[in-house]
Symmetry: C2
Subunit: 321 residues, 2 copies
């Protein structure tokens, strides 16, 4: 649809005007690797507000400048209202700014960039605050070592603004697919309308834990991801060598198995799994923010954001920072 | 931002190509009014699939024609993955169609129309399936009569497609605000990251029920809604008399108190609360679908979709059907 006209060119003129990140205050150590978990009294709202505050500061803007607050998170803070309303209460009380959630689980941040850049391109908004982050620790099963030792609680935020055609920043290409053969490979079956909190018994409480079938996910990815990535690169008209930074979702240690199979050898993509583990929706923006802060991404650089999410949903986005 | 150029004209050329609706199979009677609740073995996915099937049929399209599946629902079916991935599994398994959730609680459908019409205007998608619906019955507190006797389980869906400038269909004006002074006036405090399912005890289980502070909501609405509506009409450059159909969120019996105060006397807006109660995110699209089916809305008619949602979020959208 968009591909013809967007080949190698910026299709939607937007700019990441500022980014921020925050880690939970509690620390656990698993085999020499640190994982971050919320301390008693600390909530994801604290981390989200910290990350958003830094993003606004870097953008040189205040909350009152924002046209919309978007929470791009995988899990709800409360069953009702949406997460963005609770962030609004914390950071924008008394302002009329609309608040909205956009959710594709782990890749919610990439989806939100895709969606909100269209709203900016359509003239609906000009400045948007996007926040990601999850309380992974709320549903981890200590008996499932693979996932229990993998996740951290963290948050990240960005200020996305309309850019001029001459600024060199924007989105060249975005694609998203859902392969629901994998809908139950990563899930928390309980806690929603299908199996309400009230239905929890001693017998079924495993259903309320995070459950990841690592091998099945790997198999589905091995079968479908290489073709997807080739197709995206071809449609975008971009070669791997032109990309200055590849930020994949920090899903697990399997990153070093999967990425080379997709034509990105070790060293050509950001892998912060040893440092932070998987931070669910915060993984991509957190790693992007850190890489920018380290000076490894500069204005105008071609950046690839990609990842797999529960669903199974895959995202692929090429942007000039 | 968009207002100048959009005054009284279509700003985003989209069309509701088909709509469908579905009610839960169980029936309860409260003081002569029927409420619909899921029967044993029935889930919201059944209702969503029924509504979406009808919408696709009316549009003369198949699922394979869709570019994106959007769940515009207030509550999660599971904590992970997102609702749209579960709908995808039911209706689009084996297809690559992306699946995504957009959530502003009760007005999620209006927000999703707003967002997806921008994605269509930006050339990102051309045909989108939007589904709304919630399992209100999963969290109703039998002790809180006001809400227990108000809600029904239902679903509604639409196929939103790109339209040509000559077709006369599209969105003229859309505005959304969040007034988070009311963030805790309508909520389910438990079940998410702030108060996980695992934290439920006999003492705190009220926190996992739906909790609505009707009087506080009414007060906030009385104070802020009239000005909001006036501002929207002025910005849109549209007079009330030009609007052929007003579809408000079917929040409660207070509709007949609030709407006249907003300048819409009884009889000028659709009130189906006596028939169905409040169906959360399904209320607006269900009433819209029914009104179209009754022949009260015809192609080219100016339709106002509006409502308040937990958050407190308000939406106001003018579209030509």
């Amino acid at each position: 649809m968009e591909n013809g006209q967007m080949k190698r060119q910026i299709g939607r003129y937007v700019k990441l005007a500022g980014m921020g990140r925050a880690l939970a205050g509690g620390r656990l150590n698993f085999g020499g690797e640190t994982r971050y978990r919320l301390r008693a009294g600390e909530t994801l709202l604290d981390l989200a507000a910290e990350a958003a505050g830094k993003a606004l500061e870097e953008a040189g803007m205040g909350m009152e400048d924002m046209d919309c607050i978007v929470c791009a998170m995988a899990t709800p803070l409360q069953a009702i209202p949406c997460n963005a309303a609770l962030v609004h209460e914390r950071m924008a009380k008394g302002m009329n700014i609309p608040a909205m959630d956009i959710n594709t689980t782990c890749t919610s941040f990439i989806s939100a960039l895709d969606v909100m850049s269209c709203m900016i391109a359509a003239g609906r908004y000009e400045k948007v605050l996007i926040l990601s982050g999850d309380t992974a620790s709320a549903a981890l099963n200590p008996q499932q070592k693979e996932s229990y030792e993998l996740f951290s609680d963290g948050a990240a935020a960005c200020v996305l603004v309309k850019a001029g055609p001459g600024e060199g920043s924007g989105i060249l290409y975005a694609r998203q697919c859902t392969w629901s053969e994998g809908a139950h490979d990563t899930e928390i079956r309980g806690g929603g309308g299908l199996l309400p909190a009230f239905s929890m018994t001693e017998k079924n409480q495993e259903e309320y834990y995070f459950d990841m079938k690592g091998i099945q996910i790997l198999r589905l990815c091995a079968r479908k991801l290489p073709g997807f990535v080739e197709e995206c690169l071809r449609e975008a008209g971009v070669a791997r060598e032109e990309i200055q930074a590849v930020i994949p979702h920090q899903a697990s240690k399997a990153l070093d198995v999967i990425m080379p199979r997709l034509g990105f050898p070790k060293g050509t993509y950001i892998n912060r799994v040893p440092a932070y583990g998987n931070m669910v929706s915060a993984s991509v923006p957190f790693a992007l923010c850190e890489t920018i802060q380290e000076g490894r991404i500069r204005r105008g650089d071609l950046v690839l954001l990609m990842g797999t999410a529960a669903g199974l949903t895959v995202n692929f986005m090429l942007m000039r920072y």
